[in-house]
């Protein structure tokens, strides 16, 4: 029950529900409506950006599970995305297996490789681990780049049109159909991740983050938990990689560089570490930043002629500034801003 | 004594003060806010006379540590600030002075929880203590090793590996290296074995006696604290609720019950006899 003095519960069940007030349910309904209306509102180009956001959401949620909730810093997202993308593309394209099988294979293999690179996490703390994942990034991309078998020597793999249970994503409504697919997948990913953190498994991730010695003394198998966190997180990232492969229909190592790893970290920082909703906001924000900047610079191009030439430099600068300013002024990210806005609304007119 | 006893120091108290001079430290109506919302101190006034030992008692969360942090200038590191009142040290207003500058003036604090530099050796910890005085002088070092002979054998050991009592000795020794005129100790006997507790209070008394150091000490071990102190203050919920000479406090019935654990007839009551909350739970 929501009253001016706060939210009061009459059962554990209601307390454990994710949406508790009318306002929250209303907001959810609005979001669903907005999502359904999206393809009719924006043009194909912006819809394609929305689609990349949806893929990024899956990856960012995965990364946040590891970094935000388990406290293991990973700079290897790009590499793990590559594993997912290449696996799915190869299974789908060469073995000619159904897309579902290809994606499942990608998720499982990425989870396994993620868990393997997570093994150093058992012995390493903080920064040393971060650098181990940096090594993973560099090495995986090197393999993707040099191992000719992967791409048959061309440097990239062409992936045929996405086909799901006999339904093929057509050329005509390409973006719209993909939007439908990605919306469902991203929705499920967010749902699964949120659930994870209201159960014991998710709590044990956070326990390991805060105090691993105490966690062990409470019966948490720290080894298993860390490896598990890496596997679950990498599974999400592998899924994002696989989706990237099918959606863009080409897989090349260039999509998975260190910059991508950093971009993903930026997403969860800007969105809010250790919050699932934050991953969504962060993914949207960071993915929208470059096209919006480009659009803005195109709009003012006439008055500032050198802008186009300086745009790349400007984008790098703004990217960095966004990270720095967020960390300085709102280290808990967009999610916290939104939280405050909501609190402001909830307690109205009882305000201190 | 009632809740708020503000009678001036009794002649007995003045007599106890070894050199009994003017107040070196004077807190006037200090108010402290953390995070811009938590009001931790609500108008605290304390005076510590030169060359005396003052004890500060109070339950958890009363604001004792906050008081010492306010004096040493550590509040900004915890997002706290002095929002009202002022602090004078040796007739100088130090309310908003930088923490490092206060150390140079002679105010030293041993924080709660034995903040040794874990990765530095014992010797380097002591060297760091002498930072404001340039390099560590032989004399100072010898004095510390004389007070705490146990540290001699541990000189090259990383301080993080010392046991609690050893760390406590190191922290006090490290503060001595700065040759402070006002030494503030935050629960120095926390977690120490009974013999060591005796020792620590012995050191405090000795420091005060031999070097004339003024001491302000927070203690849960009220019995011992009031034995060495000249004067005592009791805090509760951010206020001073009781003050007086050590002897006065020792005889206060509230202090007797809550701080000395003495029952009605001056006898200690057993922990077994504490009121029994009968709350049988079916899982228990």
């Amino acid at each position: 029950m929501a009253t001016a003095t706060g939210i009061h519960h009459r059962s554990y069940r209601s307390e454990l529900a994710l949406r508790q007030t009318k306002a929250e349910r209303l907001r959810l309904a609005l979001v669903v409506l907005g999502a359904l209306a999206m393809p009719f509102v924006v043009n194909v180009y912006w819809l394609s950006i929305v689609n990349t956001i949806l893929i990024a959401v899956v990856g960012a949620v995965g990364l946040n599970i590891l970094v935000g909730y388990t406290g293991q810093i990973s700079i290897g997202t790009g590499g793990f995305l590559a594993v997912g993308a290449f696996t799915s593309a190869i299974v789908y394209e060469r073995a000619q297996l159904p897309a579902v099988v290809a994606i499942a294979a990608a998720v499982l293999l990425t989870a396994a490789i993620g868990a393997f690179f997570g093994l150093p996490a058992l012995r390493l703390a903080g920064f040393y681990l971060a650098i181990a994942t940096l090594a993973a990034q560099v090495i995986i991309v090197f393999v993707a780049r040099r191992w000719d078998w992967l791409t048959g020597g061309t440097g990239f793999i062409d992936v045929r049109a996405f086909e799901l249970f006999g339904w093929e994503v057509g050329a005509g409504l390409f973006e719209v159909e993909w939007y439908a697919v990605l919306l469902v997948v991203a929705g499920l990913a967010v749902f699964a991740a949120r659930n994870l953190f209201r159960t014991d498994l998710g709590r044990s991730f956070m326990a390991v983050r805060d105090q691993d010695v105490a966690a062990a003394a409470m019966g948490v198998n720290v080894t298993r938990t860390k490896v598990m966190a890496f596997a679950v997180s990498s599974g999400f990232i592998g899924l994002a990689g696989a989706l990237t492969a099918h959606y863009t229909q080409t897989v090349s190592w260039e999509r998975f560089t260190l910059d991508v790893s950093i971009l993903y970290l930026a997403m969860i920082i800007v969105g809010g570490l250790g919050t699932i909703a934050g991953s969504v906001y962060g993914a949207a924000f960071m993915s929208l930043l470059p096209p919006v900047l480009t659009a803005a610079s195109n709009a003012v191009q006439g008055s500032v002629p050198t802008l186009a030439e300086q745009l790349p430099a400007l984008q790098v600068t703004v990217f960095g500034l966004v990270i720095v300013l967020f960390l300085i002024f709102e280290p808990r990210g967009l999610n916290h801003i939104w939280q405050r806005v909501k609190d402001y609304g909830r307690t109205w007119p009882f305000r201190t | 004594m009632t809740l708020r006893d503000r009678s001036p120091a009794t002649p007995e108290g003045a007599h106890q003060a070894s050199s009994g001079g003017d107040p070196v430290l004077r807190l006037h109506n200090i108010e402290v806010i953390y995070d811009r919302v938590v009001l931790a101190l609500r108008g605290v006034s304390i005076e510590v006379a030169e060359g005396t030992i003052a004890a500060l008692l109070g339950p958890n969360g009363a604001g004792k540590s906050t008081t010492l942090k306010a004096v040493s200038g550590l509040l900004p590191t915890e997002r706290g600030e002095i929002s009202d009142g002022h602090i004078r040290f040796c007739d100088r207003d130090v309310t908003h002075l930088d923490a490092a500058a206060r150390v140079r003036l002679g105010i030293s604090l041993c924080m709660e929880g034995r903040h040794v530099f874990k990765h530095l050796t014992v010797a380097d910890n002591l060297a760091a203590g002498a930072y404001t005085r340039g390099t560590a002088s032989r004399e100072d070092l010898d004095l510390v090793y004389e007070y705490f002979p146990r540290l001699v054998g541990l000189r090259r050991r990383a301080a993080g590996y010392l046991s609690g009592g050893e760390q406590q000795q190191l922290v006090i020794g490290r503060a001595m290296m700065a040759r402070p005129s006002l030494l503030m100790l935050d629960e120095p006997s926390l977690g120490l074995a009974p013999t060591l507790v005796e020792d620590i209070f012995g050191y405090i008394a000795r420091l005060n006696r031999e070097l004339g150091t003024t001491v302000l000490v927070i203690e849960q071990n009220a019995r011992q604290a009031l034995e060495v102190a000249h004067r005592g203050y009791v805090m509760e919920q951010g206020r001073i609720v009781l003050e007086g000479s050590a002897a006065q406090l020792r005889n206060n019935p509230d202090v007797k019950e809550f701080y000395l654990g003495l029952g009605e007839h001056g006898r200690r009551k057993s922990y077994r006899d504490v009121k029994h909350y009968k709350r049988r739970k079916h899982w228990l």
Partner: protein, 279 residues
């Protein structure tokens, strides 16, 4: 004082009063050149409160760490009786030991600082819960049922320790004394057979110590939890414990009833000091 029986929360077996619950023999632990524990042997009896005292650096915390598996002794045997046979804890990893029903608190509070009180307590239920990935992600069904069931138990601990008001607070924002209480609560949520407490009352005034003493006595008396307690306040030790072991420089120098120990000259010399010994 009579000891009590305990129905093991994990395997349902009954631990009879007066039986040996924990047996430590010949434990040796060294760090580099320092011997933290030298040939220590003692045993704890089901249903008793067993205090471990000794000067600073004597190896008390190290002993507790060995029992809960955080340190691994170089030599020696640490056996726990669970009603279903004996287990050598000396070579076991900490989480396995916890799963035998050993819970503990720490000398310096080691709570999960970014989690709420409830979440901390729920983690105390960890050993009793299942955590499969897929049901967890699905939530509706077994995962939710389990959460609700365990939440009910946790609420009882909340009531017992009188921390209802701070349930949803993040623990790092709580005062020291309350954090200590939450830490005790977290250990209690395990419904342990053996509860290890490392200076649970340090830094408290007499009044607060009385509360803590009451909590400890409650769980002990009501459920028969065996308690092993490190404490420097001799009043607490003498009042609460049934048996006291004294360590000095890693060696066991005395082991007996509180009275015996208090009058042991070696203990007075090493630990209590003349005055305290006399008082």
């Amino acid at each position: 004082m009579a000891s009590r029986a305990y129905r093991h929360s994990l395997n349902g077996s009954l631990l009879e009063p007066g039986h040996t619950l924990l047996e430590i023999e010949g434990v040796v632990l060294a760090f580099g050149g320092i011997n933290a524990l030298e040939n220590v042997g003692l045993s704890a009896t089901q249903g008793r409160i067993h205090a471990v005292i000794g000067p600073n650096g004597a190896g008390k915390s190290s002993l507790l760490n060995c029992i809960s598996g955080l340190y691994r002794p170089q030599r020696g045997r640490i056996e726990l009786h669970t009603g279903q046979g004996r287990h050598d804890l000396a070579t076991m990893r900490p989480h396995r030991i916890a799963r035998l029903g050993v819970a503990r608190s720490f000398q310096n509070i080691e709570l999960f600082s970014h989690l709420t009180v409830l979440e901390n307590l729920m983690l105390g239920r960890h050993v009793h819960m299942s955590r499969r990935l897929v049901p967890s992600m699905l939530w509706f069904g077994p995962a939710r049922r389990q959460e609700i069931a365990h939440r009910e138990l946790v609420e009882e601990v909340v009531d017992l320790l009188q921390i209802q008001a701070v349930r949803h607070r993040v623990v790092s924002s709580l005062p020291y004394g309350v954090q200590k209480r939450v830490e005790l609560g977290r250990a209690l949520c395990m419904q342990p057979a053996l509860l290890l407490l490392d200076e649970p009352m340090a830094g408290m005034n007499v009044e607060e110590k009385e509360d803590m003493a009451r909590f400890i006595l409650d769980v002990h008396e009501l459920r028969g939890v065996t308690v092993m307690l490190i404490e420097h306040d001799m009043n607490v030790v003498m009042d609460l414990s049934d048996r006291v072991s004294v360590l000095d420089f890693g060696r066991l120098i005395a082991d007996g009833s509180p009275e015996e120990v208090r009058n042991d000259p070696a203990v007075i010399e090493a630990y209590l000091g003349a005055e305290a010994g006399a008082g």
